[in-house]
Amino acid sequence: MKRIIQLTINDKEYEVAVEPNQTLTDMLRYELGLTGTKKGCEVGDCGSCTVIMDGIPVNSCLVLAMQANGRKITTIEGLETEKGMHPIQKAFVEKGAIQCGFCTPGMILSSKSLLDKNPNPTEEEIRAGISGNLCRCTGYQKIVDAVKSVGK
């Protein structure tokens, strides 16, 4: 039985009819077409589905859509403004932090969330900040470099 929830996604108000057992990932992807949020494992291990909920990065596969009722969500589609891409997006491009790109949206949102709270993170803090996100292509070094370059 579907229920209506209200939430803010990328500064836009939404009313969505969701199943009680539907995850936030599935709602974003299949109800709203926000497919930048990726499904890598669906059990909270890989971080590909990371979104920012009320300022905190969460695995959206572990959040029921109903739990997002009344919340404020930022997905990868919400990072770019009229002023252009967010600095962390530019840094990922410039530092070669992207190979296949599948983990990229989640990595960027974890990084953004870290930088919002701590604009000048140390390498150790960066590592902690993206420790919930798996990447199988890059070996992480260039991702760390990208986050570091925005911090400076």
Partner: protein, 755 residues
């Protein structure tokens, strides 16, 4: 990577298979698999599945209109099992419903009764019982039998190397749409579009031209989508074709891990003989490859193990035997290195043991035996432009090996419970498909009247940056801005009979094909320019940085004007070209030939730290000198290097695939199967591009990079062993990867003896 692509990725706009917008009417498929490793299917009752709300249809083997066969060279693999099952996770039925959830629920509801038969998981048992995928192969040179007597030291033993799950972040996925002609279009996350096309045509009983396969991009492949993306594409195609509706099939991570094969575990017996100075004289090795239940690519992977049995070393007397064993595990398959890493690991273990016997360090044996020009491999090819020794020497100097060794000694002297180890890892990897016929590719280049360019090739972009390299090739040949050039998706309707994007050949084969096609168009453009300008011969025309020059003088023509002018002059602005790697051959009867266009060389210094109380190891540094030729795209190459090293270290130290006694995968989620996360990567990776390293067979003198970096990861194992020996010189350490903390502790504290 194509610049535009990376912008799509950071905006979340890049469309992977599961992201594509499908017609509203589309359906979802799910798979019912075997829960038994080996058995007779007594009954398969689909009625309970059909009773689940929202279910359209259930397909089993008898619903396949064509041939129920997905095998490649050896036709031993049904798409859907019929009367027998051969591994846990083998597909039995496809359920199609209005949601993925309903389809999965229905798949679980199918009643399957299987009478178990004896199952084999162990390669020795498989070999003893004659359960082989193909007859054993032997590569040999010299005379091993008579060489042993010349040796001062002969060591022998057994080496185990573990499996490895690919963990491409995008799971296996495909969707299929019926066409109005009674064919099907399949969008598939595959490294082998033509293979998917061939198999779908075979399954549906259609000519290949009724099946179009398109690949937008892959969220990682690493070999896991070379042969094993085909099944899901074929299942989606079967369902779509039968129901005349679009059907999507995306595996969950758990399904992907349980249904697909992985890197082959190997069990290998070795015997290595050396003279008193440490020259390796004779090497005998038998590789027992755990192929799993069907052939897949196992024979080809085993062949590469034989090619790389001697890695970077010249050994005069060699006998390498490869035995591909059929077991009741999911079919193991291609994974970065394709059998090469398993072979290199065995020889490095043998060298480690020989060093102990000779009372020297392994690096002394390694260095003494490095390949140089004129040396021959056991399969007869001679080494040319060999840079094995140069890479080693540069690495020794640049990274100051002697100082590093001293530091490690001092550290170990100061610390009782923490030890460091340092190992060198030279690598040599042949570049080409070892099946010679696969070394061909096509490119199709369109120049549009506004001067923009679209390029289709056989290459599939999976993060390895092949599109960026092809774009660079075209930009150089046309001498235009790269932004003008777009790399199209990979489609069987634009390029026929493609090889898989594999064996590190993507950039070379498709780069060369693109180069040839672009050169054709440039010739036509020069003719057109000469006609227009009226004073010059075509060979006096030059296109440089978007401008047209005649006899070195600037003209009023630009790239855009020239293209436009050529169009009105009715000149074709499209070209197709085909590339076939020259001068390679291999005779599978004699096992001799020259199968590789060239070799990748390099050396890594790997430093490990061991916590001797916890058994945990961290890699402090991996420092590499690698021969990239003249790198076509240093940022892409560096990314391949770093990613490959981390994957290799994961295979050696961290990633452990485990099954229970009934052949069920225990490590079936990313919670129980650990790939390197940010905390388990090397503290530092340094990469030095070897200078003055032209490579004539490569595209623009470059060398391709994909697989070789993985091999450096093997050095991590031996750096760890050095640290373990520093703690306990008398430790008996088995040659068994991955060397997990558990195995480290068992070796450091044998029995129940407290320290």
């Amino acid at each position: 990577m194509e610049p535009r692509d990376v912008f799509l990725h950071v905006r979340g706009e890049a469309v992977f298979v599961d992201d594509a917008l499908l017609p509203a009417e589309h359906l979802f498929a799910a798979i019912r698999t075997s829960h038994v490793a080996h058995g007779h299917v007594r009954s398969l009752d689909i009625a309970p599945a059909m009773a689940v709300p929202g279910i359209y249809e259930v397909f089993t083997a008898r619903d396949i209109p064509g041939e129920n066969q997905v095998g490649k060279t050896i036709l031993d693999e049904p798409l859907l099992a019929e009367s027998e099952v051969h591994f846990v996770g083998q597909p039995l039925a496809i359920v199609v419903g209005e949601s993925a959830e309903a389809a999965r629920r229905a798949a679980r509801a199918i009643q399957v009764e299987i009478d178990p038969l004896p199952a084999i998981y162990d390669v020795r048992q498989a070999f003893a019982e004659g359960s082989l995928i193909a007859p054993p192969r032997t590569f040999s040179s010299g005379d091993v039998e008579s060489a042993w007597e010349q040796c001062s030291v002969v060591v022998s033993g057994t080496v185990e190397s573990g499996s490895q799950e690919h963990v491409y972040m995008e799971t296996q996925s495909a969707f299929a749409l019926p066409t109005d002609r009674g064919g099907v279009k399949v969008v598939s996350a595959t490294q082998s579009p033509s293979m998917v096309q061939l198999v779908v045509a075979r399954i549906l009983g259609l000519p290949m031209h009724e099946v179009e396969v398109e690949v937008p991009r892959l969220g990682g492949g690493f070999g896991g989508k070379e042969d094993q993306a085909t099944h899901w594409a074929a299942m989606a195609a079967l369902a779509a074709w039968r129901l005349k509706k679009p059907v999507k099939l995306v595996l969950t991570r758990h399904e992907d891990m349980t249904m697909t094969g992985k890197r082959h575990p190997y069990l290998s017996d070795y015997k290595l003989g050396l003279d008193a100075e440490g020259h390796m004289l004779a090497y005998e090795v038998t590789f027992y490859q755990n192929g799993g239940a069907v052939a897949d690519l196992s024979p080809a992977i085993l062949e590469r193990s034989l090619f790389h049995a001697t890695n970077a070393y010249a050994i005069p007397h060699v006998k390498a035997v490869g035995i591909s064993c059929r077991t009741h595990l999911p079919p193991n398959t291609a994974f970065r290195g394709f059998g090469g890493p398993q072979a290199l690991f065995v020889l490095e273990c043998a060298i480690f043991k020989a060093a102990e016997a000779l009372g020297v360090e392994p690096r002394e044996i390694q260095k003494r035996n490095l390949l140089q020009d004129g040396d021959a491999f056991p399969y007869g090819a001679r080494v040319e432009r060999c840079r094995q020794r140069r890479c080693w020497d540069v690495a020794e100097q640049k990274y100051n090996l002697q100082a590093g060794l001293k530091e490690v000694r001092q550290y170990n002297g100061r610390n009782a419970w923490r030890k460091k180890g340092l190992a060198l890892m030279p690598i040599c990897f042949g570049i080409s498909f070892t099946s010679t016929f696969l070394n061909q590719a096509g490119a199709f280049v369109n120049v549009y009247v506004d001067g923009s360019v679209g390029i289709s090739t056989s290459a599939v972009e999976m993060g390895q940056g092949v599109n960026a390299k092809i774009q660079e090739v075209a930009a150089r040949i046309f001498s235009i801005r790269p932004e003008r050039i777009k790399l199209e998706t990979t489609s069987t309707s634009r390029i026929a009979n493609m090889p898989p994007t594999a064996a590190s050949t993507g950039a070379d084969l498709n780069g060369h094909a693109t180069r040839l096609a672009c050169l054709d168009i440039v010739e036509r453009l020069k003719d057109a320019a000469a006609r227009c300008l009226g004073k010059n011969a075509p060979h006096e025309i030059e296109i440089r940085d978007e401008a047209v020059y005649a006899s070195g003088e600037a003209t009023e023509l630009t790239w855009e004007k020239l293209v436009n002018l050529a169009y009105f002059d009715r000149v074709s602005l499209c070209a197709q070209a085909h590339c076939a790697t020259p001068d390679i051959f291999f005779d599978r009867d004699t096992n001799k030939g020259n199968p590789f266009a060239y070799y990748a060389y390099g050396t890594a210094l790997v430093e490990a730290s061991l916590d001797c109380l916890r058994g945990t190891c961290s890699i402090d540094a991996v420092r590499v000198v690698h021969d990239f030729g003249r790198s076509l795209h240093p940022l892409v190459d560096l990314g391949q290097m770093e990613g490959g090293i981390v994957q290799g270290v994961g295979w050696m130290l961290l990633e452990e695939v485990m099954h229970d006694a009934d052949g069920r995968l225990l490590t079936d989620t990313l919670a129980t199967y650990k790939i390197p996360d940010i905390h388990s990567i090397p503290g530092e990776i340094q990469v030095h591009f070897l200078e003055d390293a032209e490579n004539p067979p490569g595209i623009f003198q470059s060398k391709t990079v994909g697989e070789p970096p993985f091999l450096y990861g093997i050095g991590a194992y031996f750096a760890l062993l050095q640290a373990m020996k520093a703690f306990r010189p008398d430790a008996h350490i088995p040659f068994s990867s991955p060397m997990t903390p558990e195995k480290v502790l068992l070796a450091l504290y044998p029995g129940d003896r407290p320290v």
